[in-house]
Amino acid sequence: MNKLIVVLKKVPGLIWGSFLALVVFAILAPKFLNPLNLINILNNSSVLLIIASGMTIAILSGQLDISVGGIATLAAMTAGLYLHNVGDTSAINIILAFVIGILVGMAVGSLNGLLIGVYQYNYWLVTFSTMSISYGLSQVLTNGNIISGYSKMFRNIANHRFLGMPQLVWIALAVVIVIIFITYRTKFGMHIYAIGDSEQCAAQSGINVKRIRFSIFVIAGGLAGLGGVLLVSRTNSASPIIGFGYEFDAIAAVIIGGTPFSGGSGGVIGTIVGTVMLYAIKAGLQLVGFSVYVQQVFIGIFILSIIVVDVINQNRKKEKGSRRVYK
């Protein structure tokens, strides 16, 4: 019980705020708690969750990968084009399409990793460039056209229901569990935290910082690739803007989940909450009756106000800390 309280105290203010918002939605729009709506929220969150778990390890290491949206799009287009050309009724082709999508993601990711991790270029500039390259190539592949109309078999990968929930949700869950295991239970994971906390210290403790930074971007790229192909399966179309905006949604999800930009603390579990909250708030605003445009404004105001509360809270903690000196 005490342990539970300790854990609860660690939950960042952003999550409490989100929780509060959910309660408000539940009261304003009774439909909000309808199981169908809740499943829909989870279904909507799934792809972002996969991409954001890659973003989480990048941010944990103290860096960012803003190419994930571009990578997801490029992977979606390559896989989509491949299936369109070789036929999407055979299981092997579908599996190959996923493999291709993930490989495309890992390829761009290793370019990021090589330049950032090994040659130590600035992560912002590198991933900004590869983002641009990926979006550009996606347009080039089909001349900017959308490929749509896929077989039921391929669409079912994401949309088929298993135990009442779309498979997409299960896939995302599986991915996240693997990432949780890697970050909390393996040496590699511990070294990601170590680098984010103090790169200098990590390097002097014998950690191969270059290799770990490289791997982080390869993993983030691979996950973005997987997310991209799943998006095609889910929406039944491969569009050259399919992953647009995912980079910043992913960053928002990670930060709402309590992983600070400075790295070294937080984790993927927070990101799960952050992602689901983000979509829950979107859905709630919709149910209450706001248009998509107003929704964006609200989400911005919402995140901002929670951040303000968080800062006030931290200042109060600091004050308490300084008062303690006097007994």
Partner: protein
């Protein structure tokens, strides 16, 4: 007492390191023995840090050889040095604040279990608590580093080094940010390690420490090895003489002037860490602020400088009451108040910028009336500062980062000299600075007072306060416990008020 020669751990022969323009270490040979604390002392820029950094695999050699237990030792990087049993603890802490003690100590060498190679946290914490117990350190392995005191963090670093098959532990000014009590426990641990047969190299600026902890002392000057002595066969004066290469006639060179008008006066000043502070500083006066670390001295100074918020009370500057509602450092500088902070690297300087840029930083609005910066005037002003303060550098375009501690402090002082301030606040002005440079800083402070500015000086070094100040205020737990006039100056009396 039978003095046995302890066995040799490491021998270095004719080490040389050349940086562009300087021979930082020039033909230095040393013998390091097991179970001895070997102190390396010297003025700033004498090459102490460079020397040990070569031993720790951080710098490559330009000449010379090293041997460990008779075998040639050529570390290419820190890791190889650590494998050879040589660990270095830097002046700045090198820890991961958000990780636990155990995670910090075993980072990179975590024990694993099972097919999946999961990190065995339980075993790691057990290993960690065994290690800490063996060193008699009372810290829970599961604590986060950021929740520990600076001294405890340092001990974790020592523990980490020890756990690494340690033969030689190098400590670069480990006590510069510790309180007396913390220093004691660090020394206790150091002695224990020495008695266990570990060789220790200890770089320090503080003379008392060397007598307290050292077995052997090596003195360096201008990159050269000028002497090695056993501590029990040498006296303080000889060491100082060897270090400086000249006799320092008088450390505290103070000419007392008739104090002028009151520059600053605080009335019932109350802030977060201090209450009801009433004090004043007159022109031409050096006023000391004594007290223990954490008593609230820095906080009072920062409040006067507009950096920390004031809850109540008032501040009168040159007879004019300052409105505290929107008081900021910007206003303070406008009113000609200067603040030379304790932490040069973080607060006093923009470490990646040049000497020139740092010197004119606070005076920009004063120097350049239309917002365009005139390079010629800038370098003229800066050149004057470099010359007046005797900053040792080849060019004003050099980055401050590359200067020694004493020279960095002079740059901070130069920066405020340019603004022609009426009040200078010095917070621990000689922390981490060697004897020679200390005397220079004292002379500078004396000159500032002579020119008619007031000085408020915070220091934990009582002899220094007594040597320089006209009056001393003593702070305890955020309140003034006394004002001591010069005729009553004595260490016992002031400490009595502070404790």
């Amino acid at each position: 007492m039978v003095e046995q020669q302890k066995s040799v751990l490491m021998e270095i022969k004719q080490l040389t390191k050349i940086f562009p323009g300087v021979r930082a270490v020039d033909d230095v040979s040393l013998t390091i023995r097991k179970g001895e604390v070997h102190i390396i002392i010297g003025e700033n820029g004498a090459g102490k840090s460079t020397l040990v950094k070569m031993m720790a695999g951080i710098y490559s050699l330009n000449g010379g050889e090293m041997f460990i237990e008779g075998e040639k030792y050529e570390p290419m990087n820190v890791l190889q040095a650590q494998k050879a049993g040589i660990n270095m603890i830097h002046q700045e802490l090198n820890v991961m604040p958000h990780r636990t003690v155990a995670q910090n100590i075993y980072v990179g060498r975590e024990p694993v279990k099972g097919v999946l190679h999961m990190v065995d946290t339980k075993k790691m914490n057990q290993m960690c608590s065994d290690l800490l117990n063996s060193l008699e350190i009372d810290i829970d392995p599961c604590m986060l580093i950021k929740d520990l005191s600076i001294a405890q963090q340092q001990m974790v670093e020592v523990a980490k080094a020890i756990s690494n098959n340690n033969k030689l532990l190098i400590m670069d000014e480990p006590t510069s940010s510790l309180t007396h009590k913390e220093i004691d426990s660090l020394f206790k641990m150091t002695r224990k390690l020495r008695d266990d047969g570990v060789a220790i190299i200890y770089i320090s600026h503080r003379m008392q420490e060397l007598m307290e902890i050292g077995d052997v002392v090596t003195i360096m000057r201008d990159g050269c090895h000028v002497g090695t002595r056993r501590i029990d066969e040498v006296d303080m004066a000889e060491i100082i003489y060897l270090m400086v290469g000249r006799k320092i006639e008088k450390v505290y060179n103070r000419t007392y002037n008739e104090p002028g008008n009151v520059v600053i006066e605080t009335q019932q000043l109350t802030g977060k860490r201090f209450r009801n502070v009433n004090m004043n500083v007159r022109k031409g006066e050096i006023v000391g602020l004594a007290g223990l670390v954490g008593a609230g001295r820095t906080e009072i100074a920062k409040a006067i400088f507009g950096y920390d918020a004031v809850d109540s009370g008032s501040l009168v500057f040159n007879g004019e009451e300052i409105s505290l509602k929107s008081y900021s450092t910007f206003d303070a500088v406008q009113k000609k108040i200067s603040f030379i902070p304790e932490d040069r690297k973080q607060e006093g300087l923009c470490i990646k910028m040049s000497i020139n840029d740092n010197i004119v930083m606070s005076a920009l609005p004063q120097l350049f009336h239309n917002s365009i910066v005139n390079d010629r005037l800038l370098s003229k002003v800066s050149k004057k500062g470099i010359k007046d303060l005797g900053i040792v550098t080849t060019s004003g375009n050099k980055k401050v980062n590359n200067l020694s501690g004493g020279n960095q402090q002079k740059v901070v002082i130069a920066k405020w000299m340019v603004t022609d301030s009426d009040l200078f606040i010095f917070d621990e002005p000689t922390r981490g600075i060697d004897v020679g440079a200390k005397a220079e800083i004292y002379t500078l402070m004396n000159n500032i007072a002579k020119q008619g500015a007031g000085i408020l000086m915070i220091s934990s070094d009582l002899p220094e306060l007594i040597g320089l100040a006209d009056r001393i205020y003593v702070v305890k737990d955020g309140e003034l416990t006394g004002e001591v006039a010069q005729k009553d100056f004595s260490q016992e009396y002031i400490l009595g008020l502070a404790l």
